[in-house]
Amino acid sequence: MFLEFVEGPLWYIALTIFVVGVVLRLLDVFRSGVRTDLAPPRREGLGGALRTLVTRSWTAPGFTRGAAFHLVAGYMFHLGLFVLLFFAAPHVLFIEERLLGFGWTPVPYWAFILAANFAFAGLILVWLRRVMHPVMRRISTLDDHLAVILTFIAMFTGCMALFQHHDSLRAIHMLTVEVLMIYFPFSRLMHAFTFAISRSYTGAAMARKGINA
C-alpha cells in the first residue's frame, strides 16, 4: 500500500513539482535579462562565457591552499553522486522503465561502491567543514543544512535498499527521494542547474569589458 503510493501518485506529484519548479526558476533567471551595456564590447562574450565556465571549476590563484579541502571533498561528493545517480544499475533500470523508455550500461559493482564511498565521504566532510569552520558557519543558512541533510538521507536510504529484497526499504528510499525532489526547486540545490548560467553570464559580461573573469 505504502510502496504503491510512493511509487505511484507521490512519485508523479514529486516529479511534477520538480520539473515545473526548476523550469519556472530558470525562466525567472532568464527573464531578469541582461543590463544594456552602452560601451562597445572589447571582446566577444561567448569566449569569455566558455572560459569562465571552465576556470571557475578550479580555485582562483591565491586561494588554492585555503580551498583545497573544499575542492577535493566537493569534487568527491559531486562526481560520486553523479555516478550514483545516473550510472548505478538500479537507477539506470528505473530511468529506463519509468522515465525515458531506454537505458544505458551501468557501471560495474566495484565502481558503484567506489562512487558511493566518494559521495558519502565528500558529503560528510563538506558538511562538517560548514559546521566547524567559524566563517562557513556564520554564512550558512538553514537551507544549506537542510539540503545536505535531505541529500544524505536520500543517499543513506538508497544504500539501505541495495539488497532489493525488501519492499519497505525501497519504499523508504523512494519517499526520501521524493521529499528531496519537492524541496529542490525552492532551495540552493538549484545550483545544479544555475551554476552554468551564473558562470557564463559573469564570463560573458566581463569579457565584453575586456576582463578575464
Binding site: 567559524p134 535498499a161 541495495l162 529484497h165
Partner: protein, 360 residues
Amino acid sequence: MNKNAKKRTVMRRVLVLILSLVIILPLIPYAVALVDGPGAVPNPGAQLWNEVRQRDGASAGVSQVQAVDGSVFINPYGERWRQFRMQQLVPIGGWLLVGVTAFIALFRLIRGKVPLEGGRSGKLVPRFSVNQRVVHWFAGTIFVIEAVTGLVLLYGRFVLIPLLGPEGFSATAAASKEIHNLFGPIFPLAVVLMILLFLRGNSPNMVDVKWFAKAGGLLKGMPASSGYYNGGQKSWFWMVVVFGIAISGSGLVLNFPVFGQGREIMEWAHVVHGVVAILFITASLGHIYIGTIGMEGAIEAMTQGYVDANWAKEHHDLWFAEMEKAGMVGVAPNALEEVKRHDDIDFKGFGSPGAKQKEG
C-alpha cells in the same frame, strides 16, 4: 535310518552351518579390529565421509569450477569458525559491552559528572584546529555507523527478533549489512586522516605513567599532571591507530573477496574483525562518555575548538602553562583570527599593500 532321513539330517546341518556363518562372518572384522585396534579393517562408508569431512586436514579435489576453493567440497575450518563466533565472540563480546556500560554507569553514580573545580573563568584557550575537528567528527560518524550496523549483524538475532519480529529483523539486518559494507571502505581514509592530524604530541612519556598512577585525576582530591594530551587520550589515539588498521585491513579482506583470498583467510579476517570491533567499541564507550556528558567543559574542545582556561589548568596543567607563557590564554574566538590561526587560507597576496600593486 532310511535314505531320505539321512538327506534331511545333512540338509539341516548345512543350514545350521550357513546360518552360523551368516552370523559369525560379519563379526570377524570386529574381532580383528578388537585385536589389531581401530583402522585395521577399512570401512568404505567411514572412509568416504572422513574424506568428505576432511578430518585428516583440508584437501582439495578436482573440479571444473575455476574459482578460489572451487574444488573444496566441504571447508573443514568453517565449523571451527562457527563455533568460535557462537560460543566465544558473541557471548564474551556481549558481556564485555554490557560490563563496561555498567562500569561507566557505576562510575557516574559514585563520582558524578567531573566538574570544573574552579568554575568558568571566561577566558578561552585554543585547543583543536578546524581540520582536526572535522577529521575527528568524520571518523566518529563513520565509526558510529559501522559500530551500530556491525552490532545489529552480530547481536540482532538475539536482541532485535524479539522486538521487531523475524520480518522486521530481516529488513533491518539487510539494510545494516549493505550500510556496513558500503561505509566500510571509508573508515581507512578516516584512520589515515586521524593519524596525520593527531600523531603529533601523542608520543608516550613518563608524565603519562604518573598520570595513570593517579587514575588520570578522575578521583576526587587526586589531580594528575599532563601535557597537551594525557595518558588516556594517548592510549585512545594508539588504540585508534592499531585497532583502526586491524579492522580496516580485515574489513577490506571480507568486503572484497575478489583478490584470491580463500575461505580460511576470510574466517581469520572475520575473527580479527569481530574481536577488534568489540574491543574498539568497548574502549570508545569510555572515550565518548568522558568526552561528552562525563566531564564539564570537555566537549567544547571538539565542537568550538576552544576550552575554558580553568578546564585547561585542571586537566592539562603543563600544556596550560605553555599556553600562558605564549600569551595564548584569553584569546577571543574571533572568526577571522581563528581562521588566521588555523592557517586555512593563504593570505599571501591578499590584504597586504603589496598585493594590490601586484593585482593592479
